[in-house]
């Protein structure tokens, strides 16, 4: 009995929308149909996959906060870390350093030169740095770098290229500047006026004729 339901169907109409026709009146008539369970199940499965797929792949990615707070747990293990390259690429021979932030904190990444060459943008005031994904060995107290907390990259990929950011001028500040410029000038004039009036020697008062 639940297979057959009665609906009011509007014609012609796109799925999910009611299109007003004939001055807002709809042509509607009763319509009987069977619910396609197989299609719904497969649609539902696709939806579940689409929703959870990124999360499933993200389970391997650790944040800087997790790495720093649970450094003993991750020490010496291979981890995947994502974030924006900031500052600059600092080459040191065949290797070099980049610093990558995920918004929580920043981790120093020790990379091969060929990986460093993939980086085109490092984040700064006007630049959004390349977003990279690094897989490598995490060190709580790196023996190679005398106790530093770092990540030695084995694989580095740019997953989102960086770009230059244009910042529009804030005209509210310009208005305030004009107001304060006038008030400062007025006060400078006032204080200099008072100063000069104090410096001016007082003229002797003429003797009264009375």
């Amino acid at each position: 009995m639940f297979n057959k339901l009665t609906y009011l169907r509007c014609e012609p109409v796109a799925v999910g929308f009611i299109r007003p026709e004939n001055n807002g009146r709809h042509k509607c008539r009763p319509y009987n149909f069977e619910i396609p369970y197989k299609n719904i199940v497969s649609l539902f499965s696709i939806l579940v996959f689409l929703i959870f797929a990124p999360l499933l792949s993200a389970t391997d990615v650790v944040s800087s906060g997790q790495l720093i707070k649970n450094s003993a747990e991750y020490d010496g293990k291979s981890v995947t870390y994502r974030g924006e390259v900031i500052g600059e690429v600092m080459e040191r021979g065949k290797y070099g350093w980049i610093n990558v932030t995920d918004g929580e904190d920043t981790i120093g990444i020790w990379c091969k030169k060929e990986d460093l060459n993939k980086i085109k943008f490092a984040g700064s005031y006007r630049i959004k740095g390349d977003k990279v994904e690094i897989t490598g060995v995490f060190n709580r107290s790196c023996s190679r770098h005398q106790g530093g907390l770092d990540l030695h990259a084995e694989k580095l990929e740019v997953i989102e290229p960086g770009k230059e950011i244009t910042l529009p001028l804030d005209f509210k500040k310009v208005k305030l500047i004009v107001i304060f410029a006038f008030s400062a000038l007025g006060l400078i004039f006032l204080s200099s006026l008072r100063k000069s009036s104090l410096k001016k020697p007082q003229e002797p008062t003429p003797p009264s004729s009375v």
Binding site: I86, N99, G108
Partner: protein, 500 residues
């Protein structure tokens, strides 16, 4: 009976405060020029607006009383303490306008931290801050470290009597040269020479370690300003760890150690008196306190086995210890690592070092090594006197630029200041515990704020309670001015309200 200050007294205070505020407004032209050079137009507007606000406020005060008069001690102290508060508010304006702070209080926190050369910070996304705002953060440290008043004395104040009273108000007691304005100018000269040398060295190190020359220069300049003035701000969020370089660590370490020495010692070395460096009670005590606290840190770290290898242990712990002892606050480890890996003994050693601080008449905060040296000698004198017959007299001497006889009044004064600092540190620790932080960490952060160090174990953050932010601001202000000027300001306000 408490006498209410007269209107004339308020006008004198207003006049000098006005002059100093105008000076601060002029100093904002430096980041303004940087902003124009790098075509950072919004930051340029921030600095123009902030300097205009400073000029308006300063000239308003000057328009009330256009003629200077000599100040007395109380007025000098009130001017010094008021100037630091006003500098915090005005210095925070461009910071807040940058959009990198959650609210104006956070910007004030960073401004006070900058001027008081502390180094604790609440800034958001520092890695995307403009060059000009970053220069301003470090310039605040340079201005504060040199002394807002010292700079003003050099350029604005003419009367020697007035100058000395506000000079002392800013916790500087020694006259290196007979005239206090000459002393201020000497401090300025020494700092400028070191500024050129230190910036060149750090720029060279930056280029050597793979930075672009222009960025290496800017980072060099900023690191010098914050290092020399034992401040602790750095251009990037990872602080010194950003550079992953032992060369950077060595140069910054040398800079902040030299910065934490007495300017009188600089003068002695400047004039060829090299013996002073090991004869002076302050440098000798500094050496001993470094050895003792470093031993505590090493033993603590060996117990926790946090660092793999002796070299790693030495590199990380020695830098952190000296950074804390000198009152700098440069970090080569993550703040969470203090909690995870340092253990209570190593943390205790670091807290003691931070609490003591650097030399007197330097840019360091804290109790100051000279006072510790005097107290230790006073203690020795007391023990010797107990061992002598009643009629016996002990004359205890110490060398501080000249041979001096230790007097009870000196010991008493050192003990009082030490006690005041201990109360200040405990006050912050109790405030931290009130908000639920453990005692160890609360004490660490409190000592760091009160002694103007800047090392953090993680309490200082944007999300910490508002009241705790205010407590730390108060500690930074009080610690930098060494209490006296702050107490005089409170007394002055009390007299204004309750006086007759």
């Amino acid at each position: 009976m408490i006498l209410r200050p007269k209107i004339e007294e308020l006008k004198v205070i207003g006049y000098y405060v006005g002059k100093l505020i105008i000076g601060l407004g002029i100093s904002m032209f430096i980041p303004l020029l940087v902003a124009v050079y790098f075509k950072e137009w919004n930051p340029a507007l921030d600095f123009l607006l902030a300097s205009l606000i400073s000029f308006t406020a300063g000239h308003f005060l000057l328009s009330l009383i256009p003629r200077s008069k000599e100040m007395n001690w109380t007025q000098g102290m009130v001017v010094a303490s008021l100037c630091w508060l006003l500098a915090m508010f005005l210095g925070a304006i461009p910071l807040y306008l940058s959009g990198h702070f959650a609210n104006f209080l956070d910007a004030c926190f960073d401004a006070m931290s900058g001027f008081a050369t502390t180094g604790l910070t609440l800034i958001r996304d520092l890695d995307h801050l403009s060059y000009s705002h970053n220069i301003w953060r470090h310039l605040m440290m340079f201005i504060g470290g040199q002394g807002i008043v010292v700079i003003a004395l050099t350029f604005f104040v003419r009367g020697v009597g007035s100058a000395f009273s506000i000079y002392v108000g800013e916790a500087r007691e020694e006259k290196i040269l007979p005239n206090v304005i000459q002393t201020a100018r000497f401090i300025w000269l020494v700092s400028f020479v070191w500024l050129v040398l230190g910036t060149l060295l750090l720029t060279g190190a930056g280029i050597f370690e793979g930075m672009k020359p222009s960025r290496a220069f800017l980072h060099g300049l900023m690191l010098f300003m914050a290092g020399w003035d034992t401040g602790g701000f750095a251009p990037q969020s990872q602080n010194i760890l950003y550079y992953h370089s032992s060369l950077f660590e060595t140069i910054t370490l040398i800079i902040f150690i030299i910065g934490s020495l007495n300017f009188g010692l600089h003068y002695a070395l400047w004039t060829g008196n090299r013996k002073e460096i090991y004869r002076n009670v302050e440098t000798a005590t500094f050496f001993i306190t470094i050895l003792v606290t470093f031993a505590l840190v090493v033993v603590g770290l060996v117990k926790t086995s946090f660092y793999s290898g002796n070299l790693a242990l030495f590199r990380r712990s020695f830098y952190q210890l000296l950074s804390g002892h000198s009152g700098t606050g440069y970090m080569t480890i993550y703040k969470e690592q203090f909690v995870q890996g340092w253990g209570p003994l190593a943390l205790f050693g670091l807290i003691i070092a931070m609490g003591i601080g650097g030399c007197s008449s330097s840019t360091s905060g804290g109790i100051k090594i000279l006072r510790v040296g005097i107290l230790f000698r006073g203690f020795l004198k007391q023990v010797r006197e107990l061992m002598l017959p009643e009629s016996g007299v002990i004359v205890q001497k110490f060398h501080h630029f000249k041979e001096r006889i230790l007097e009870d009044s000196q010991v008493k004064s050192a003990a009082l200041i030490l006690l005041a600092y201990v109360f200040l540190y405990l006050f912050g620790a109790v405030a931290g515990m009130f908000f639920g932080y453990p005692f160890e960490l609360s004490l660490f952060e409190s000592v760091s704020a009160g002694a103007n160090v800047g090392l953090s174990c993680g309490i200082t953050s944007e999300s910490m309670p508002v009241l705790l932010k205010v407590v730390y601001i108060f500690q930074m202000w009080c610690g930098r001015l060494e209490f006296m000027a702050v107490f005089v300001l409170f007394g002055f306000i009390g007299a204004l309200i309750r006086g007759k």
